[in-house]
Amino acid sequence: MITFVALPILLPFIFIISLLVFRSDRLAGWLGVFGSGLLILLSGYLFILVQKHGVIALQMGGWEAPFGITLVVDFLSAIMLVVAALIVFSIAIYALRFLPKTIRLNRFFIFFFGLTMGLNGAFVTGDVFNLFVWFEVMLMSSFVLITLGRTKEQLEGGIKYMSLNLIGSLLFLAGVGLLYGKTGTLNMAHLAEILKNDNQAILMNTSAVLFFVAFGIKAAVFPLYFWLPASYHTPNITISSLFAGLLTKVGVYTFIRFFTLFFVHDQQFWHQLLLITAGFTMVAGGMAAAAHYETRRILSYHIISQIGYMIMGLGIFTPLAIAGAIFFTIHNMIAKTNTFLVAGMIAKARGTFELKEVGGLFKQSPFLAILFMVPAFALAGVPPISGFFAKFILIKAGLENGNYVITAVAILTGMLTLYSMIKIWNEAFLKAQPANEYASTPFKKLKFAEYFPSVLLGATSILMGLFAAYLFDFTMNAANQLIDPSLYIETVLKG
């Protein structure tokens, strides 16, 4: 049973091997869907296990912590795994129809599973250096994915994406080195135990800065996000969608993990810094989204803006706020991916992502309109879809904790989100199709594999809203586990 903890990593690994050996594209498509489907089952199982046991830990190689590498699944990891699997599954199906013929499925799915492997590794590992390794696995896969089409734009975007992220990686590694130099350990739970009562823990601040910047780059927070708007709109929409929901959120995940588990000294400084960063991130992203007229760019800036909310939850640092951050994160992963998927469908229907060039889609395909509306409403925080609860929890947490400024910023940013969503809606759906080269493109009825991923994610968003109570309970448990990590530490070190 406990072996299952390693499977989120090993399953994608097995599929990578299969894809290296069997080179048929048709088979690759099946393997992709099948593999990611298996991941859903697996993470669902882990989710159930965690609810039963609280925290489960697997000491890899039988070497007890902190000497070996421990894989840990707690509430936070479990929910991230489930949501990631859901997204990955949707994208696997989506890829079958939306990847251009020039990208071979056999190759795509190697990197797809590479990304998944790194992602899952990052979610389950309890070891700082191992986390670095999974970051790199993920990063390397994403480098390849972003340039897979090899157009000029993609190469340019790829260079920017890559270079800024690599700087992040190096800072991360430096942080790991310094941390090890000071504490002599790499195990997160062990770190937590060492730093818990140490009055010298403030000396960790410099390492923490390096992690802060590294995760900040990964999560695309304010003065570090440049790579994202420069690159996310360049690859095929399948790949953009894959990135949109997953990559930055891993940064958020690690932020939450590190700054609740062992960087808990000097809270004054860190929480202020997180809040300031969060505020600027929200506004900068939101404003930029308002300025653009290309769906992928708008949505990309939204990613940034919404990362601000997640960081805000961490910065407020009450159980409710952290629950809010987690809730927001998972809501956003699903809704954000979904908006990208729909953007792809819009572009497929019309042949362009430029909002000024398209229109009339409401009339032509009310179904597509609904597909868009669900995630757009979710992102805009329209009750009773998931996004409303996410924002509500954060606002409640912020106001109850007296963080008025950031809450005000969050509320105002909500207006910016609304603005952009209405913009897309007005331009692509409501407005009549302008008479241009794209007008003659006949609207093809959506095929099952094209709309199913969006339906799946949309339904999830709605269900997350309707059953927000369960989800909130879960995120609250996760937050309590994070605020008081004694079970985590005990399970890892003594389990």
Partner: protein, 769 residues
């Protein structure tokens, strides 16, 4: 109650799956649903007394204080009756009105959903739940207003209304959460029982202001009123519903609802009364100069909303009683008039006052109906409107403190209303026939059912208001006041101050009307004056602000996301350096005890070589020199590894360094030479920034060497490598056993990189399926 909401929801969804023959009658069906709901509420009127209310509690997310609480008390009843009653008539009216348009399924879907949301709102006993319905009404009204979405003006108006009410809604949410934190509940009953605690809390004022922001935007109070005239882009049934019983009335409802909790303080009275007065004046003043039928009506709605807010602000028994009555009055005449306006537009093809006239000949019944409604609007006896105005004057007379001012402004505003009503009747129905684009007629009786019923109600209830007062207004009044109060409505109050004021209003209003009629120029001048004095229209301001905001955003985005890659890196490095230096400064008191030594000299020499090679690499103009120096530095580092006992590491570094060099050389010949691309100044700046970063990293390294909080876990590896993992090379054992998972990730990275490099550089191949 809950079932009614569910029925509304399912009815709205049912539209799409109705069989064809039933689909034609969907408006009737929905109207029937509305009517059934109306009957349901009506049947409970006797049950809901001043002392008794119905409530339902459904647990939803109790951890967040978010439960489904439905509450039917006197106040809810008033609104529920209006929503469902007028709803039934509006659907009936819409059946014929929407006949000629496409997409009626969607229209009725929205409208039914909207009605349900409004009903949910007024039945909410939990303020967050109320907020949810509140937002739903905002969003659904967006769809209703933008129903003719290929018109840009419709999209703009829809956006404007959603944006303003949405913004207000969010502030309101903040206010609710803020005040909710005082009593740790969002349940209205908890607020009510802790009203004093809330009022005494220092969160009271900010909370109040935030909630008022929601109320004022939704109820189109000055200066947020401008979205409402824009909303007439919606089809007439929507306008009629929106202005009379729903949407804008949501703010009034909430104000009344919260009055027993938050009311009674000077802040409440002054802020709200003042806003109400200003809105009232704004509405009536601008109504006069409108030439669009719907425009006139929209501004009269603003006037009415101002009156309602003012009355609730005054917050006396009299004022609230007046408000509750005025709700009905306004709903009746406004719904009627909008339906009539829609009818006129439909039949004549225009809404422009200048093109209308003499319609009485073609549409006599319509005239009667409209005239009754207009009389009610003007506050003339014997209609319900008169009753209302009397009560209002009475309330104003008795209002504490600012009575005289409010009175003067109130009378002025009503003078305008009288004039407008008469002018409307005269210009549309009497006089010479206008030049209509279409020949008007009065066919289609269903059109007239709605307005007819409502106009009749205005008259009948005006003549015998007693039952309305005791059965409906009284429980509502009690709910708002939080205590039982008596209500006796009668048309004749005797000769008193109020009666004289009424007479004065009517006389002056009539004179104004005559002036307007006789001197066409007057209106034109008036309009001109307005154009000068109010040169800046608020909706234009809104559009301007949005445009400017987008422009600023564009500029900001261009400035931040400038595209200069090296400046991105510069930003990141400077940001990191600043944080690091700051932390180094904060923790500067750490004690440092590492001795400085140059021995062994060959390592110092090696260090020197590394430094030199690096420096050469940095400044050399030759690509080859740069790359080879880089290699030398790499080899030097591998020797340092070697000296400090890292054999495997050194070997790996050498191998990797060489492979890297080979790769560099492989592509080098195909790449251009270095050019001098940056100025000396730039280079100096970059160097200083680099040095700033480098030096802080030096400090960090030393600090990490110096600080040892805990014994390293490595002892375990040294002890167990041979005993338990059967290997002498501990580093290798770590790689393949203790921490084999790292290596697994590492080879995965390599594999992916290799396949990636191949794909990047090979010829593209199409998919084979």
């Amino acid at each position: 109650m809950v079932y009614i909401l569910l029925v509304f929801l399912s009815a709205s969804l049912l539209i799409f799956i109705l069989p064809g023959w039933l689909k034609k009658q969907k408006a009737i069906l929905l109207s029937f649903v509305q009517f059934a709901a109306f009957i349901y509420f009506l049947s409970h009127v006797s049950e809901i007394t001043s002392y008794h209310s119905k409530s339902i509690f459904i647990e939803w997310i109790p951890q967040l204080g978010l439960n489904l609480e439905f509450m039917l008390d006197g106040l809810s009843m008033v609104f529920a009756l209006l929503v469902t009653g007028i709803g039934a008539l509006v659907f009936l009216y819409a059946k014929d009105y929407m006949k000629s348009y496409a997409g009626t399924d969607k229209f009725f879907f929205y409208l039914m959903l909207f009605s349900g949301a409004m009903l949910g709102l007024v039945l909410s006993g939990n303020l967050i739940q109320l907020f949810i319905f509140w937002e739903l009404t905002s969003f659904i009204s967006f769809f209703l207003i933008s129903f003719f979405h290929e018109k840009e003006s419709a999209r703009k108006a829809a956006f404007q209304s959603l944006y303003i009410t949405g913004f207000g809604g969010l502030s309101m949410l903040a206010g609710i959460v803020l005040l909710g934190s005082v009593v740790d509940s969002y349940s209205f009953s908890d607020w009510l029982s802790n009203a004093n605690a809330i009022k005494e809390s220092n969160l009271y004022l900010p909370g109040l202001l935030l909630i008022l922001a929601g109320i004022f935007t939704k109820s189109a109070q000055f200066p947020f009123h401008f979205w409402l005239p824009g909303a007439m882009q919606a089809p007439a049934p929507v306008s009629s519903y929106l202005h009379s019983a729903t949407m804008v009335k949501a703010g009034i409802f909430l104000l009344a609802r919260l009055s027993p909790v938050l009311g009674g303080t000077p802040e409440w009275t002054y802020i709200i009364s003042l806003t109400g007065v200003l809105t009232m004046l704004t509405g009536s003043y601008f109504a006069i100069t409108q030439t669009d039928l719907k425009g006139i009506l929209a501004f009269t709605t603003i006037n009415a909303l101002g009156v309602l807010v003012l009355l609730l602000g005054i917050n006396t028994t009299e004022s609230i009683k007046a408000a509750m009555l005025f709700l009905f009055i306004h709903a009746f005449y406004k719904a009627t008039l909008f339906m009539v306006a829609g009818l006129i537009e439909k039949k004549t093809g225009t809404r422009e006052l200048r093109q209308l006239g003499g319609l009485i000949k073609y549409m006599p019944l319509t005239f009667v109906i409209a005239f009754l409604a207009l009389l009610s609007m003007a506050g003339l006896p014997p209609l319900l409107g008169f009753l209302g105005k009397e009560l209002i004057y009475e309330a104003k007379v008795q209002s504490p403190g600012i009575a005289s001012m409010i009175l003067i402004l109130g009378v002025t505003s009503n003078i305008f209303m009288v004039a407008v009503s008469l002018y409307f009747a005269r210009k549309v129905f009497l006089g010479k026939p206008g030049n209509f684009p279409k020949q008007p007629n009065e066919r289609g009786a269903a059109f007239l059912i709605g307005p007819g019923v409502l106009a009749l109600l205005s008259l009948v209830l005006g003549l015998s208001p007693g039952k309305l007062g005791s059965a409906v207004i009284k429980p509502a009044l009690s709910a708002v006041l939080g205590e039982v109060a008596e209500v006796k409505l009668k048309i004749w109050h005797g000769f008193n101050q109020v009666f004289f004021l009424s007479m004065l209003t009517i006389i002056l209003g009539f004179l104004l009307y005559v002036a307007m009629l006789k001197k066409d120029k007057l209106l034109i001048y008036w309009k001109k004056i307005n154009d000068v004095v109010f040169a800046v229209q608020l909706d234009e301001v809104f559009a301007w602000v949005m445009d400017k905001f987008v422009a600023v955003s564009k500029l900001k985005t261009k400035t931040v996301q400038h595209g200069y890659h090296r400046l991105y890196i510069l930003t990141i490095i400077v940001f990191t350096s600043l944080l690091l230096w700051f932390q180094v400064f904060v923790t500067r008191s750490w004690n440092f005890d590492i001795p400085f030594t140059l021995r062994p000299f060959y390592i110092s020499g090696l260090a020197l070589v590394i430094i030199l090679a690096s420096a050469v690499s940095a400044v050399s103009r030759s690509r080859i020199v740069t790359i080879i120096s880089m290699g030398v530095a790499g080899y030097g580092i591998s020797l340092i590894f070697l000296y400090y006992s890292a054999v495997d590491l050194a070997i790996t570094q050498i191998l990797v360094e060489t492979l890297t060099l080979v790769m560099f050389m492989a592509i080098l010949q195909k790449l251009p030479r270095f050019a001098v691309l940056s100025s000396k100044k730039t280079r100096l700046r970059d160097f200083l920034i680099a040095l700033g970063f480098g030096s802080v990293m030096t400090i960090l390294a030393l600090k990490a060497v110096n600080v040892n909080l805990n014994r390293s876990i490595s002892d375990f590896y040294l002890e167990n490598s041979y005993l338990k993992a059967f290997g002498e090379n501990v580093v290798n054992v770590i790689l393949v056993d203790f921490r084999a998972l790292d290596t697994l990730g590492e080879v995965t990275v390599l594999t992916i990189a290799a396949v990636g490099v191949y794909l990047l550089l090979s010829k593209p191949k199409s998919r084979k399926l």
